[in-house]
């Protein structure tokens, strides 16, 4: 009896063990080792240009998820994972010139690299120029066509999405002129309703 029981227990124990092993093998994922930084370009503690991207090469391939880049001063960073265990890190906006940046790159909360860069000085402020360009694109989409000189009137931007029409002497047909300007806006690929039309005189 004991012998039979013992045999059954052994089988059950073995089954439980097999089940545990199976469950373990299914659900257990060992925590991966932190990837190591093999190479970075431009080199740490060097001067970079305001538009430069930073290229890193690691010792193993990694997923985009779990990759985080923080910096002081703060910037919004784009991360692109490339084949051959490489990463490209680039600020969405131009970096502030003549400024030192400290970058911390982590993967699944483990630090991969801490890098310091100084952005080379310029004779103007490209970051600001970028903001101006964005503002013009957003608020004055037809700025490249302005001033628009027609035989009876001139069109200028008065404020964001608002045109100011100046009539030449003796020209009175306001509604026709607004229609003409709306046509012109349409011809230039914009929705005529996106703009407001005012007269200066």
């Amino acid at each position: 009896m004991l012998k039979i029981l013992s045999h059954r227990i052994t089988i059950v124990l073995l089954a439980v063990l097999a089940l545990i092993t199976l469950l373990f093998s299914i659900f257990y994922r060992p925590k991966p080792a932190t990837p190591k930084l093999l190479e970075v370009s431009p080199k740490d503690r060097s001067e970079i240009n305001y538009f430069d991207e930073i290229r890193l090469r690691l010792d193993k391939a990694i997923n985009q998820d779990g990759l985080v880049v923080n910096s002081i001063p703060e910037e919004e960073w784009e991360i692109l994972v490339k084949p051959n265990s490489s990463l490209i890190v680039k600020s969405k906006k131009y970096l502030q010139v003549n400024t030192q940046y400290l970058l911390n790159i982590t993967y699944q909360n483990s630090p991969i690299a801490s890098l310091t860069y100084t952005v080379k000085p310029q004779q103007s402020d490209p970051r600001y120029a970028q903001e101006v360009a964005e503002e013009i694109k957003r608020d004055y989409p037809l700025a490249a066509k302005i001033p628009y000189e027609a035989p009876g009137f001139t069109v200028l931007y008065k404020s964001p999405m608002t045109f100011e029409i100046t009539l030449k002497e003796g020209v009175e047909e306001r509604s026709e002129i607004i229609n003409a300007v709306r046509d012109w806006v349409k011809e230039n690929g914009q929705d005529p309703d996106s703009h407001t039309y005012t007269f200066s005189n």
Binding site: N49, F51, D125, L156, Y157, K158
Partner: protein
Amino acid sequence: MARKLVSFAQSTYFKNNSLKGSANLYLITNHLLPGLDQQAEIVAGSRGIPLPVDNGADQEYITIQEAKSLILDYLIQIKGIDSDDQKSLLKIKSEEEFARTASILFSSKAQDPNKLLTAARMENLEAFRAKKIASATTQTKTYDPSTAYANYSKMYFEILKYANSAVVPQKLIADILPPGSSRVTEALLRKQFAAIIVSNLHRLNAAASTGSSDNIKNYQVGRELFNIIRESYPDNTDLLHIVGDEKTSQRVIDLTTSLVKETKASFSLDEYERARSLAATSLPEYLLNHTELKAEIKKSLPNLSVADQSRLADAVIKETIASSVKGSLDYDQIITLVGQKLQLDATTTLNIKHTLANRGLDVSIEYLQNQKAVQFGEYRFTQREWGLVRSGVDPTLFIRSEHKVANTEKSLLAAQSTLLATYNSKNNTAFTTLFDAYQAERNKPKDQIDVDFVIKSRRLNGDISYYQDLTPQEKAQIGRARFGRRVLDYRSRFYEAQGKIIDGWIDFEETITGKKLLHKVFDSWDEIAEKVTIPGTKIPLFRIAPWLADRWDEWKKASTLKWIADGSTRYKGWKIVADPLRPVINWSLKYYEMGNFTVNGATTAFATRQWGKFVKWGLTKVGLSDVGKYVGIQAGRATTRFLIKIGGKTLAKIGSKAIAAIATSGTIIGTIIFVGSLVLDLLSLGWNFLKKFFKDGKFRETVVGWGLAISGFFTAINIGRVFTGIFAGLGLIFGGLFALTLSSLLLAMTIIGFIWFINTSNLHSSENDARLDVNLSLDSGVGEFIGSILCDSGEGGGKNNTRIQTAACIAEILSECGINPLNAGNVKGTKWQCALASTLAQSALAELEYSASKYEVLQCVGFVSAIDAATGGSSHFTTAKYLPTIVPAGYKFAAGVGSCSPGDFFVDTTGADGHVGLFIANGGATIQCADANGGGPGVVRGPDKCQWLSSKVAGCLKKI
């Protein structure tokens, strides 16, 4: 605007500057001498010498003869040149040679000794004096060369002490050079600045007296100081970034005034200037000349063998000449070069350096080298002459005899015997050599010495010894430079003569009766010829040959580009072959491209460039852009005026082709492309016509009968057979003009052939790089032409604004060359060669290259600097944000976007460093602009691509 020829006493410049009948140093060195020098380079006629005038006023000219008289008067009255020099100047007929000789007199007699011995080296001279070494020439009771220097030195140090210690100048200097303005320590920089101002007090004072308004005075002083530092103080280029703006210039004027006032206590500014001139004049008498130096060097090293002594002495003397191509060097640098040439080790070189310096020879060696560096710069040397200089032979002694060595010897010996005979007869002696007489005179008691004789005989002995020491090989080498010199002299004289003829013709033509009718006939004919086409085609009836020529040009365009493109990709050896030739190819292609790949266009481009060089050069000096702009355009048109006058527009077309071919024939590739094509053009168009005309009686009869000779040169053979009878009626009208036209054509061909001969002859004597140097250096002044006339672009809202057109050109050229955006990488690459070969002024390209190299990508500041340079400016632009306060010279800042006009530079001071660009048009809340680095790293945005927010524009920099 017509040429306003005035006498000097009636000129605005004369009235504004309260002159007393004579020109001042500023006018002479900055306007008259360079103006005369240009006479040899102007392909067509001269308008006289332009004078500085107020902004917006009519350009005024004085005659060439009056300019020469003013210079001569100044040299005689103020500088006291001796009678021999006066005579030699009076004899000179060529304007260029006169300017050159007068410039040499100025550099040796009138200019600041600091230019030859800079402030630091004056201390060397003081040390030399402390050694109590006797002067090279004798001293008498009334003449002591060292005293002249001592007098100047005393005055100089007195003013310097005042500048470095008194409250007013110190405050002004501190204002000009605020803390942190330079890498050099502040105190040192301020001292260097004070020394520069004190040394050049006279020049700055003269500049501050130029012009009627404060603006112009500020501008002149800023520019003068900028030039002084750039030319004479290479170690202080840091200061170039500081000087130049209006405020600094005003303070420099205040400083100058303060120092001049101080000098008045013990001496006047004129006395100071005279002492400086005397010091400069006496330096060569005080220090050793080549011959004496050679003897002294030999004596200095008694331990060496005689052969080695000679070798060393020769090497030092030759190095003082050869190294002059590097500019002024100091003693240490010269001896180091000698050591390298003789392959001496460092210890031996150092020993020699100390030994010669201990004997007081260092100052003479340095002076001779510096003097050569300055003197050679005054000459228009040929390539072979520069070759002589590089090999250590001084060619100046032989230039007057056009390198006929025997003639030089003859004239030296003749001068020697004349001087000796005069001396013997005066002193009742019987010396057989000049050297003996010279020694005897020096040994006389001091109060009996004839100083004039001592100086003259010493100079002559020096020249003769120099000549006699030359080896036969060196003499042969000098002889080989003869052809180039003769051609250059001949060409200079020819250009000047040509200028006079053309001027004379234009003046004469103005008086011809019936000229209106003549012009009308020419114009009508041109009109008819353009309109009438062969039925069913677009081929102009009377323009068949030019039409064919254009097709030929198009073929050349395609084939030339194909040849270059093929070569660069297909042949491995191309790089080796093409690289050394690249500058030459680029240079020639530049004109070819400028002329839209037609020979005709290239010729106009080159001719315009030549005119532009002259006019814009004057403009740069005067600093008044509006006047220059107008005059420039007038002058550009004048290139073809002469041809139009003698043969109508038809002739002008082929004439300008010839002029360009001539002008560009200085290089081998230029000859192949331009002159080669001209030969073909002439052969196919002209020769066939003439041959047929003279050989074929029927043809001749037909041509004369129809009166088609006016266009016959072009239409050549086809006319007789195809159009018989159609124009019989017209023949009556045009037939009468035939004789006149044919003779005009023949005259033109003679002129063309003659000029062509001279230029192609010169090809054999001048090597490519020398001509390239000359031609490429023209660019700084002609940017306006390049920008406004020759570039295809520039329609971006500023049809009549050269600065907008220039901005458009920069964007277009960089894009076409594949280097927009422009960065540090591509300004070193092959695509940059494309930009170099473009129509853009070299000075503008240099600004672009500098900016992109220094900041990795082209800066907005670099872009506006390039526009400024291309339109004749040379202002320094600082970081965008500070431009409203640190205003570049020649500009004024006007606040608010409302003050901006097309062509101004708008400034935005927002952000870390702000932004600057070219203002094109007001669009209300936005503006139209052109800029760089505002639309991406190094991206140049042309007029149709750049917009900015009006609310952010702080104001505009407006050209004064």
